[in-house]
């Protein structure tokens, strides 16, 4: 689906941000990307929907090259992106208008726009809020609307740039559930996060450092081999506990528990 080959990206002033990154993302995968601040995660993500263009190397999305001007709109329709700040993504006076923004850009007919808006708002459970202004919504609700506005464009791939970092715990869970469901229904997900518990449903973890990929594979194996904090993750008490139990030999590192449920199951299996 997405094929990145020796991608190098430099700012106009010469600073190198991405250093020969090569990566493949397959259909219906849930790929998580992690790394410390400044490791290049967001930059990499923005190449996947042609918001940024490579200085050297290539990014091919579904056979289309991002450097081809005639493909850019198609690539962006197929690859949606949800950003971190709930405030900066609202593009209309009401929820309905915001959801209509994307389809309007695609030049769709009024009836089709309405259909898509209704479908998208239902998918995220915000039907009652269709006529609400953004000021009346909480951060979590705004992010749901942001997700719906991308869904209204019916993309095959959705990119998420730390979408839960500004939300409260309850909203975080709701958004992650929505994303997991989307992935189960066939949408490819690329998800930047620094929360370990959000890796639970990830098929693959990519760790970045200083503009290069240092790890690419099974999340649990990667975590058991290294220090999660070095990979840019928070170490919530639950994971710290899991790590200590692993280190003392009670739990097999290959099944490194990423959530309370998994830790509980692992411990129950022991007795």
């Amino acid at each position: 689906m997405i094929r990145i080959n020796n991608l190098i990206y430099r700012y106009p002033d010469g600073t190198q941000v991405l250093d020969s990154v090569s990566l493949d993302i397959c259909k219906e995968e849930f790929v998580a990307i992690a790394g410390k601040n400044g490791s290049g995660k967001s930059t990499l993500l923005r190449h996947m929907n042609a918001l940024l263009l490579p200085t050297e190397g290539s990014v091919i999305v579904n056979g289309m090259d991002t450097t081809d001007p005639s493909s850019i709109l198609n690539i962006r329709q197929m690859t949606g992106m949800v950003f971190q700040d709930p405030e900066s993504q609202f593009l209309g006076m009401t929820v309905e208008e915001d959801l209509a923004f994307g389809p309007e850009n695609l030049g769709l007919l009024q009836e089709e726009i309405r259909k898509r808006v209704n479908r998208a708002v239902q998918n995220v459970g915000m039907q009652e809020y269709k006529d609400h202004t953004p000021r009346s919504l909480s951060g979590g609700q705004k992010q749901k609307v942001a997700l719906a506005s991308v869904l209204a464009m019916e993309p095959e791939i959705i990119l998420f740039d730390e979408v839960t970092s500004m939300l409260d715990p309850k909203s975080r869970k709701e958004i992650l559930d929505l994303i997991t469901q989307l992935n189960e229904n066939g949408t490819t997900v690329v998800y930047i996060t620094h929360r370990l518990e959000e890796l639970v449903h990830a098929d693959r973890l990519i760790v970045m450092e200083n503009g290069s990929i240092t790890h690419n594979g099974n999340p649990r194996i990667i975590l058991s081999q290294g220090d999660a904090m070095n990979f840019g993750f928070e170490l919530p008490p639950m994971i710290e506990l899991a790590k200590r139990l692993c280190d003392s030999g009670f739990i097999d590192p290959a099944c490194f528990p990423l959530s309370r449920e998994e830790l509980r199951e692992a411990l129950c299996r022991l007795i």
């Binding site: 840019g232 008490p237 309370r260 007795i271």
Partner: protein, 277 residues
Amino acid sequence: MSIDLRNVSFWYNRGTSLEKQALNNVNLSIEKAEFVLITGEVGSGKSTLIRHFNGLLSPQSGSVTVSGIGSTSKDLRLIAGLLMQYPQKQLFGRTVFEDVSFGPSNFGLKGEALDKRVSDALYLLGLDSDISGLSPFALSGGQMRLVVLAGVMAMKPEYLVLDEPTSGIDPQNRSSLLSTLKKLHRSGISIIVVSHQICELLPLAEKVILLKNGKVAFAGTPKEYLKSVSSPLPEITLLMKELNLAGFNVNEDIFSVDDAFREIRNELEEKGVNQDE
């Protein structure tokens, strides 16, 4: 001298069709040098509550007294310093000095006394004194936060109130911020934190206040909290409860990693599970 709230109620947009009651007959006391965690769901009234501590808001019924001074008198903000969410957004100075000296200079401090205040505040927060002459916008995110906090501490408040201090913070700076708060508490300042992150703050808190729909649903020690409140609870406590339901026999009043590890290890060894490796 403590912060005392007696029968405090507050409505937003009172008298209009958009009226919303944010605080409903709140009674609470926060003693000097306590470390308090205020938690509750979105919309429970936490932000409204703390804005009463430094005089931003005045109660529409009931009374607020901070260190014996009523909220109708000016400048509770010298006694209770409030640090809002995403403090980096408040920076404006050409130099770090300008930003940190903003508070004390507005209350008349000048010259050498002001210089000392600023360097003391920077030192208190573990910032290098060389930072004084740099532009605050050239600093890292974590340092920016500390500069704004230094600006609040430079006013020498008795109470430091923080609104979701770890929100949006990158993992590296999270633990250092928490240890900074511990250090400040040890130096005698009362720390009041509003946060959703019970897991990381419960171990530090001496008192927990839970707000629900503008009312105080619980006020007491962390251990009492675990015994009497069913939600929200720290993940570790939930784990202990769930393990007990599955046949374990562990102490449920636990929220720290060390205690949990010890309990689980003891239980597993008792049950004859060996450490394999």
